[in-house]
């Protein structure tokens, strides 16, 4: 079974739950930015939660199927069509041999997850099928899809058509989007006043927002506590001796535009970070469009762990409903 890529969309990549274990040599985890939606799409079509799917950004691809398959599209509200006939999101539907899966205009969110029964069967590299484009690693030839690509698909299990994820179990960012953040790392480098305005201000997603990281603008610049630059750090007050960057960490070069690192993170660098977006809210970032108003919400470790448990319960509820 294979899928012929007629049109690739804007930036469509093969992703699964990622490739942990190689961050110490600069290879990030990669994987779907919204892994909850990725897992849901897989469960809808009878795959393991971590099978490889297509992650489509802003615009869907056009795909020709060479055999019958079950398909589900989750995440962004990116309406799928089978031979031009619109299908519901978050619901399993059938695509027959020779039919073409295409997409209408994006209505909400940023990334659609397209799961096919059997999963996208590209080679496993360092334990994962995810694409890391910066390192030309994994996925389909280490890059985003192009017209003419032929995607191998694994053998699927039989599931019924029309299965769907209840609306209450679909997670999407609010308006404004709220990202919970645990202050820490180099928080002490900014003034008390800057620490207040950072959480007070409504930021906006900048056009520079991709799998490496999301940049935010429109908030007040942050002032720094004066210091003598440490040897090897660099002269800007936001510089540190190059260090590791946690996933979700919020760096603020020169105190102006915060950048939240995501699944294809650069693993380290010389900018101080003021905290980290909690693991439970990483999925939400993947669904933010440019210009989306966003607030950072200060939380404690206890709240971060509660949020994490809530997310896990949501995934368990989806899995139970589709078992």
């Amino acid at each position: 079974m294979a899928i012929n890529v007629l049109k690739p969309g804007l930036s469509t990549t093969v992703q699964d739950l990622g490739r942990p274990g190689y961050y110490h040599i600069g290879i990030p985890t990669s994987g779907g930015m919204d892994t909850l939606s990725l897992a849901a799409a897989n469960l809808l079509v009878g795959n393991d939660a971590g099978a490889a799917v297509l992650e489509a950004v802003f615009m869907g691809p056009e795909l020709e199927f060479t055999q019958d398959a079950m398909v589900a599209v989750t995440g962004a509200d990116l309406p799928p069509k089978v031979d031009g006939q619109e299908q519901p999101c978050w619901t399993a539907f059938k695509v027959k041999k020779g039919q073409v899966l295409s997409f209408g205009f994006l209505k909400k969110g940023a990334r659609g997850y397209i799961a096919v029964s059997g999963g996208i069967d590209v080679p496993v590299v360092l334990g994962s099928r995810s694409t890391y484009t910066l390192g030309a690693l994994g996925g389909f030839e280490g890059r985003k899809l192009a017209a003419g690509d032929v995607l191998p698909v694994g053998k699927g299990a039989f599931v019924a058509e029309g299965r769907s994820v209840a609306e209450a179990l679909r997670r999407a960012p609010g308006a404004p989007a709220e990202l919970r953040m645990l202050p820490g790392l180099y928080w002490h480098r900014i003034t008390e006043q800057a620490g207040k305005t950072f959480f007070e201000d409504t930021w906006k997603v900048a056009p520079e927002a991709d799998r490496i990281g999301y940049r935010f603008k429109a908030g007040r610049p942050l002032d720094f506590v004066p210091r003598t630059p440490p040897f090897g750090a660099g002269s800007d007050p936001s510089n540190i001796v190059d260090a590791c960057y946690p996933y979700g960490s919020v760096q603020v070069p020169s105190g102006t535009e915060p950048i939240v690192l995501h699944r294809d993170a650069v693993s380290g660098g010389g900018y101080m970070m003021i905290g980290t977006v909690v693991s439970a809210d990483m999925d939400l970032i993947g669904q933010l469009q440019p210009h989306t108003p966003t607030k950072f919400v200060k939380v404690t470790m206890e709240q971060a762990l509660t949020a994490r448990a809530d997310r896990r319960k949501t995934l368990e509820a989806i899995a139970k409903a589709l078992a």
């Binding site: 910066l134 390192g135 953040m181 190059d242 380290g268 010389g270 980290t276 762990l305």
Partner: protein
């Protein structure tokens, strides 16, 4: 030197061994991360040594953040009593200094540089009081460098020269980052050297280029078949200045699958180094001659 522990969200602990760069800070990080790796604590998913800090990623569903923090601090105490000795390897890296490709790239982004009328290598030689390009090459390749961190992008080593602080080469990053850097450029920013593992954006000064691939996701390069990245933190590097002829020859040999880097095992002791820097470096570099 005070070690500072902080949580990076609910999945990371970030440990700053020192605010400023030093070999001691790097060694503290190496010894704690080595002890952590050996401890095989359940729930630890990533252990990442950096220059003067390190980071641990863990699964809080398996080990609670406070418990992870407690175990890490206990390891620091144990690591402090361990001797600062590292069994590692030295790798010779050929460099074509002042090459035409990084020169051309430097010219394309000249308006982003501190000194648009000179080249990166001339500028860095001048601000470090070195005697022109030749003086720079002598200082840069005369003493070995520690790989103090691997990262930013896949397989990219950061290197710290094993000399007194007053002999460290220092240079600022470009005023605004370039959008292009040739693959395998030997660069420099602050007190760190690096080798760009892939082509791409960059802000470090560009001094030369190596013919030796250090990252190969397809693993067709003869010496990268076992693993796609050459470097790991703790490796020692000796730069070997080469000219155009040797550069071209090495590229051809690499392409033909015949080339092997010169690598030798070596033991490094921080105490020995503190007592006699040049003597230790001479011994470390000598190890290459047997290989």
């Amino acid at each position: 030197m005070t070690t500072r522990y902080t949580f990076g969200g609910d999945e990371h602990i970030f440990v700053e061994c020192s605010e400023e760069m030093s070999l001691e800070a790097f060694f503290t990080g190496m010894s704690i991360t080595t002890a952590l790796r050996n401890a095989k604590i359940k729930g630890v998913t990533e252990i990442c040594p950096a220059n003067a800090s390190f980071q641990v990623r863990f699964n809080p569903d398996i080990i609670a953040p406070d418990e992870m923090m407690r175990q890490l601090k206990a390891l620091e105490a144990a690591a402090q009593s361990a001797p600062s000795t590292l069994n590692t390897r030295i790798i010779e890296v050929p460099v074509y200094y002042n090459d035409p490709w990084t020169h051309e790239t430097g010219q394309r982004f000249r308006e982003r540089h501190q000194d648009p009328t000179s080249t990166d290598i001339e500028y860095t030689a001048r601000i470090n009081n070195l005697d022109g390009i030749d003086g720079f090459i002598k200082a840069h390749s005369g003493a070995p460098w520690f790989v103090s961190m691997v990262g930013f992008v896949a397989g990219l080593p950061f290197l710290y020269q094993m000399v007194d602080r007053d002999r460290q080469i220092q240079s600022p990053k470009y005023l605004r980052p370039r959008t292009d850097t040739p693959r395998l450029t030997v660069g420099h920013g602050g007190c760190f050297a690096c080798i760009y593992s892939v082509r791409g954006a960059g802000g470090y000064q560009m001094f030369g280029i190596t013919p030796m691939p250090i990252y190969d996701p397809n693993q067709t390069t003869s010496y990268l078949r076992d693993f796609m990245c050459l470097f790991k933190p703790g490796d020692i590097v000796k730069w070997k200045p080469i000219g155009r002829e040797e550069y071209d020859h090495t590229v051809a040999e690499v392409d033909a699958g015949r080339w092997q880097p010169r690598i030798a095992p070596v033991t490094f002791s921080l105490e020995e180094f503190a007592k006699d820097i040049d003597g230790t470096n001479a011994r470390v570099m000598e190890a290459l001659n047997g290989h």
